[in-house]
Symmetry: C2
Subunit: 221 residues, 2 copies
Amino acid sequence: MDDPFAEPTDTREAILGAAFHALCEHGYADLTIKRIGEAFEKSPSLVYHHYDGKDELLVDLLEFLLEGFETTVAGDAFDLPPRARLDAYVAAMTDPNGVDDERAPDGRFLAAMVELRAQAATDEAYREHFDRSDRVFRRFLERSIREAAAEGRPDGRGIEEGTAPGGADVDPAAVAETLQTLSIGAMVRRSTTTDREWTGAVREEASRYLSRTLPAVDPDA
Amino acid sequence: MDDPFAEPTDTREAILGAAFHALCEHGYADLTIKRIGEAFEKSPSLVYHHYDGKDELLVDLLEFLLEGFETTVAGDAFDLPPRARLDAYVAAMTDPNGVDDERAPDGRFLAAMVELRAQAATDEAYREHFDRSDRVFRRFLERSIREAAAEGRPDGRGIEEGTAPGGADVDPAAVAETLQTLSIGAMVRRSTTTDREWTGAVREEASRYLSRTLPAVDPDA
């Protein structure tokens, strides 16, 4: 993946960049403000000046990265057709190191995300972040699903009753929640097990699910 | 859920029971051998005698619980028809407190599992456990999928070429990996966010996926 902190514009970004690199290197449990300070090129005491502890810093890092994703999505930086975009999203979460795209997150980053996400089981600040984060990714997926459903139609818009098997009765939001849940599960399995045999099966089944489901999705729902 | 440690048969089980209850109460980060000792009715020093640290104890707890699941499954204690068993599995992982079944794991237990699973991102002993654990659950799901696919056939066995849409070309193992990945994602979302609106959508889409996929699964594959 591109380094999101290659050109920090202020002290906050420089600190977050140091935290990002230290997190990918040491993992959550072994990360300390001291280690972040060591990865920080200016005075480590500046880190203590800005943040009360490592969790406050890491939640700010998560927010910064999420804002970056929102900016990327809003700017249409994903220059893929909607259906290909959905397949690429599942692939990036399932087998990040097998994806030949410099924008795909790498394995160490996703493993760190899994560790931070687990903090939300007991920490309110992390939980609020992941509530917001899941909404952002859900909206991205839902928009892509509406576009992919419209793409398959002759007029590029809604479908007439009865033209799809069982009618156009599938809610695009429900498909988005399902892809989102599957992707989180893939990211967690990928980061917490050694076995990789399942990754191809999950990508193929997600693709089959989309191919069967998109014709029944009403893009105007 | 039933307390798997209601009647410990030896000191190991008594210690694991104390750890289980302390883990559900305090969460992983705040769990200490001292707190496990306090939840243990005999001498806390016995805990130190049996285990070198909290992670060694918790990996042994995970193994014990997994062996309990394997015994339950081997004994056919899940007295549900195969298709209902699959829906119940997804439901228990997605919305444990909404499942009216005393065998379903409760929310605090699943949250603790998510925290322990995150340790596998950096700890080899946890990683080995979750590799094994994923294989056990995958085999349970795969067997249920084969049985559910056979159940839908007039003769209860394999299908002839061409009788299912696209032929019987779906590998039951691939469907099992997908359900397993979706269930892990659901468990993680459930434990790390406050939003619950997605749970119904995921259960419905998983059910629709199974209904569309099972006719194309060859139970003898």
